[in-house]
């Protein structure tokens, strides 16, 4: 530029910094925005990579896990192996109590050597365990 050249005294035929700056300004103004299609492809890549890593995006269905992974997650949700063992023992005890017939308990020494049964003290729930009772309600 003439003004620049006069003030700086540089060679008149060489592009000066101010000329380069004008080119930089022009180039900055020519910048094109990325297309919607490009943005979509980039986002699709993001989701693909995330799903490949078997992470669980918050607003999408969880990717299917291998069986061992699902079992491990289910156990963790229940409180881990100790909680599951306790739950199993309680379940078995409940089944035994429910299905065992009324029992007799010996109380040696209480009545001078005679056996006293407690069967009379237990409610008779055997009808409730029959199929007929279950069907009749």
């Amino acid at each position: 530029m003439n003004t620049r050249n006069k003030t700086t005294g540089t060679e008149p035929d060489a592009p000066q910094d101010v000329e380069l700056d004008a080119l930089f300004v022009a180039a900055r103004q020519q910048g094109a925005a990325p297309s919607t299609a490009l943005m979509g492809r980039i986002l699709a890549d993001a989701y693909d990579v995330a799903e490949a890593r078997e992470i669980d995006p918050g607003d999408a269905p969880a990717p299917s896990l291998p069986a061992r992974g699902r079992i491990r997650r289910a156990l963790a949700a229940l409180g881990g192996w100790p909680a599951v063992a306790t739950l199993g023992a309680a379940t078995l005890a409940g089944l035994w109590i429910g299905y065992a017939p009324p029992f007799a308990m010996s109380l040696p020494g209480v009545t001078g050597g005679e056996e006293t049964t407690l069967a009379w003290a237990m409610p008779d729930i055997s009808p409730l365990l029959t199929e007929d009772a279950a069907v009749d309600g």
Binding site: M1, D13, D17, A26, Q30, A32, M39, D45, G58
Partner: protein
């Protein structure tokens, strides 16, 4: 997650959220970073399709590295600039290996007699001339000039991006500008720089 909450988070926070499975964070990072990378690639390469390829590839590398990102070691944007500028440099090298005319048979430089008297056309002609001149600079000078004068990065950040010292960056920029001046010397009239 609310968008206004997302917009306040740093790039690094968003990357960690994405690594944890937050799709909103991926959207925010795409909107925030992809246009800048696309602008850099467009200016370095001067080709829309190639710029899109570079942008998508750089972002893909970001998604892949997300779970292994170590907080505080580097800025996400700086890392991304580095990846994108390296991808551009690789493409510039390939172009030179096959020749500019073969890589761009229709020509990317403005015709010698292109009209440049009107402002819009002049801007386009100047931008195209600069792009062509940049493509003839050594790759590192081209990268440094683009990051400094077209993307507006400060020299210390350019140094991080390029893995150089600040003085080396300053030297690259100075030599690059001298190179541009030399390349464009014969086109001053055409570009509206009258005596």
């Amino acid at each position: 997650m609310p968008l206004d909450f997302i917009e306040e988070r740093s790039d690094e926070d968003l990357l960690a959220l994405y690594a944890g499975g937050d799709r909103t964070a991926a959207r925010a990072l795409t909107l925030r970073l992809a246009p800048r990378i696309h602008a850099l690639a467009s200016r370095m390469l001067g080709d829309g399709a190639e710029a899109e390829d570079v942008t998508q590839e750089a972002m893909l590398r970001l998604w892949k590295i997300a779970p292994d990102w170590r907080p505080g070691e580097a800025q996400v944007s700086t890392w991304l600039w580095r990846v994108a500028s390296n991808l551009c440099t690789d493409r510039l090298r390939r172009r030179r290996s096959v020749g500019w005319d073969i890589a761009f048979p229709e020509g990317t430089e403005p015709a010698a007699d292109a009209p440049s008297v009107e402002t819009g056309l002049q801007h386009r002609a100047r931008a195209a001339a600069l792009r062509a001149a940049l493509a003839n600079l050594p790759e590192r000078q081209c990268t440094a000039i683009t990051l400094r004068h077209l993307e507006g990065l400060p020299n210390p950040e350019i140094a991080d991006v390029m893995g150089l010292g600040v003085e080396a960056v300053e030297s690259l920029i100075a030599r690059g500008k001298r190179g541009l001046s030399a390349i464009l010397k014969g086109r001053r009239d055409e570009l509206g720089f009258e005596e």
